[in-house]
Amino acid sequence: MKRKMTKAEKTEARWCWFFIAPTMIGLVVLNFYPIINTVWQSFCETGDFGRGNTFVGLKNYIDVLSGGEFWISLWNTFKYALIEVPFSVCIALVLAVLLNRKMRGRSVYRTIYFLPMVAAPAAVAMVWKWLFNQQYGLLNHIFGTDTAWISDPKIAWVSIGIIGVWSILGYNMVLMIGGLQEIPRDYYEAASIDGATGIRQFFYVTIPLLSPTIFFIVQTRIIGALQQFDLIYMVMDTSNPALGKVETVVPVFYRYAFTYGNKGCGATFVILLLLVILALTVLCQKAEKKWVFYN
């Protein structure tokens, strides 16, 4: 390998470094230094008013893992994901199958379903909070109920999950349509000759052939759901009695790092979140080998 580079190769390499320099410098300053710094921070204690950093070893980890807050917020995160991911994926799948044909108004439907993706989550959260309002909200009026959608500790997590499903549905659907269009028509023709109709075709042709796309969406949505912040921060006031049953890991991290100014604990929270995400990614890769069908 230790041969000398020719002149042309040297020129090429010099140009390359010029081309990638802005990105690489940016990544090092904005991302790689911060990763190392966050890891280091998680071993340090922040003094009062965010001043001073003293190395305290594993103290933050012991505090965070032995206190209830991390485990509760992690459990809340899973509860949120348990609603958002399956429902948004299943509904999106049905809609994608229905829309994947020549029909009138196809692009109008797609535009409407995708609309929440371009709305600011802060605004989305505000309007849903208003829809869920116990006294004056539209939902209680339509259903004739008196439900405290977002302040009843028993159901608030479902309400937040509904907002999550509504927000991400159209996005999942667009990805599914992309996947559906790659399935060759021959498979459906063969299935019809064998006598399989609508529903059977859906389960025996569409689902297996779409499984790589479905798997990809499920995996990215699980990771996305674990990082949920905007909805919970905006919908759940600090005085909301249901907050403790809903608040996920990232809002708790935000509270520690920026409201309390306790960067050590905040850093510990994100490092633990990183570990959870890595573990889930490994699990997903294992599941992929088992269930996903690649032809």
Binding site: L27, P34, T111, F114, A120, A122, V270, L274
Partner: protein, 275 residues
């Protein structure tokens, strides 16, 4: 034949119902924004349509929250982020996609690692950096974390790899150096990937809530998203005004989206879940 027609009708019914569910929150936002507080909070009778279409709530919010400044801040942040992201990612994407150099694999591995790590891990040190530079509540702070993009680099690299060799070789024979080849021949061919990245970056920057809240807490320096969060905290019961603010914050993006919906859907969908 008749059965097929029945099916088609059924499908449309399902799709229209679903479209209704998707649109109701936006509709309710609009209707509430035009109501008076007493109309919005009237239970018996429940008011659906406002009695008159007055813009009072919009005017109040516009003035008390200085929306013009918020629009300007948000627009500038989006502009700078898009320019920086597209420029750096296209340059790096070209080098990664079409050239050979020592250390390429290591450098690209760094790009991939950034894409796999959850974004919250960068935030505390980024905040400390911005704060030490004395840049809190400045435009620089809003743009700072979006100056380069690992995802964009990856996207443009893939796009450059898909181009044929002929054009580039012809340019080389004509004596173009790498800079000319990149600028005049290759970069224009990846236009659609650049547009996707630009739209993705713009929407992502527009929707981001946590970062502007952290670095730009002053009302006059922040973005639409973060300003909404602030408003909700301040007058949480004046629903017409809150809805007017939410609507004004979202409307420009929604209008642009409806006009360029094809590019938007593609641009955001290529992000592969990184939203």
């Amino acid at each position: 034949m008749r059965k097929e027609k029945c099916n088609a009708v059924l499908i449309h019914v399902i799709l229209i119902l679903m479209a209704f569910v998707m649109i109701v929150p936006f509709l309710w936002m609009l209707l509430t924004a035009f109501k008076t507080i007493s109309e919005a909070t009237s239970v018996n009778p429940f008011v659906i349509l406002p009695s008159s279409w007055k813009f009072d709530s919009f005017k109040n919010v516009w003035k008390s929250y200085n929306f013009l400044v918020l629009y300007k801040n948000t627009l500038l942040m989006i502009f700078f982020r898009v320019v920086c992201a597209v420029l750096t990612a296209t340059m790096a994407g070209y080098a990664f996609g079409r050239m050979k150099f020592p250390g390429k694999n290591v450098a690209f591995a760094l790009v991939m690692i950034q894409m796999m790590v959850p974004g919250q891990i960068f935030i505390i040190p980024q905040y400390v950096m911005v704060s030490k530079l004395g840049m809190l509540n400045k435009m620089f702070a809003l743009v700072f974390p979006g100056m380069v993009t690992a995802f964009g680099t990856f996207l443009l690299k893939t796009s450059f790899q898909g181009l044929s060799k002929d054009m580039e070789e012809a340019a080389m024979v004509d004596g173009c150096n790498y800079g000319q080849r990149f600028l005049l021949i290759m970069a224009p061919l990846t236009r659609s990937a650049m547009i996707s990245l630009g739209i993705f970056t713009a929407v992502f920057a527009f929707k981001d809530l946590m970062w502007p809240m952290i670095v730009c807490s002053e009302s006059a320096k922040t973005t639409l998203s973060a300003a909404l969060a602030k408003m909700q905290g301040q007058f949480s019961s004046n629903y017409p005004e809150l809805m007017a603010a939410a609507l004004m914050a979202c409307l420009p993006m929604i209008v642009i989206y409806v006009i360029f919906q094809k590019q938007f859907v593609e641009g955001i969908a290529t992000s592969g879940g990184k939203l």
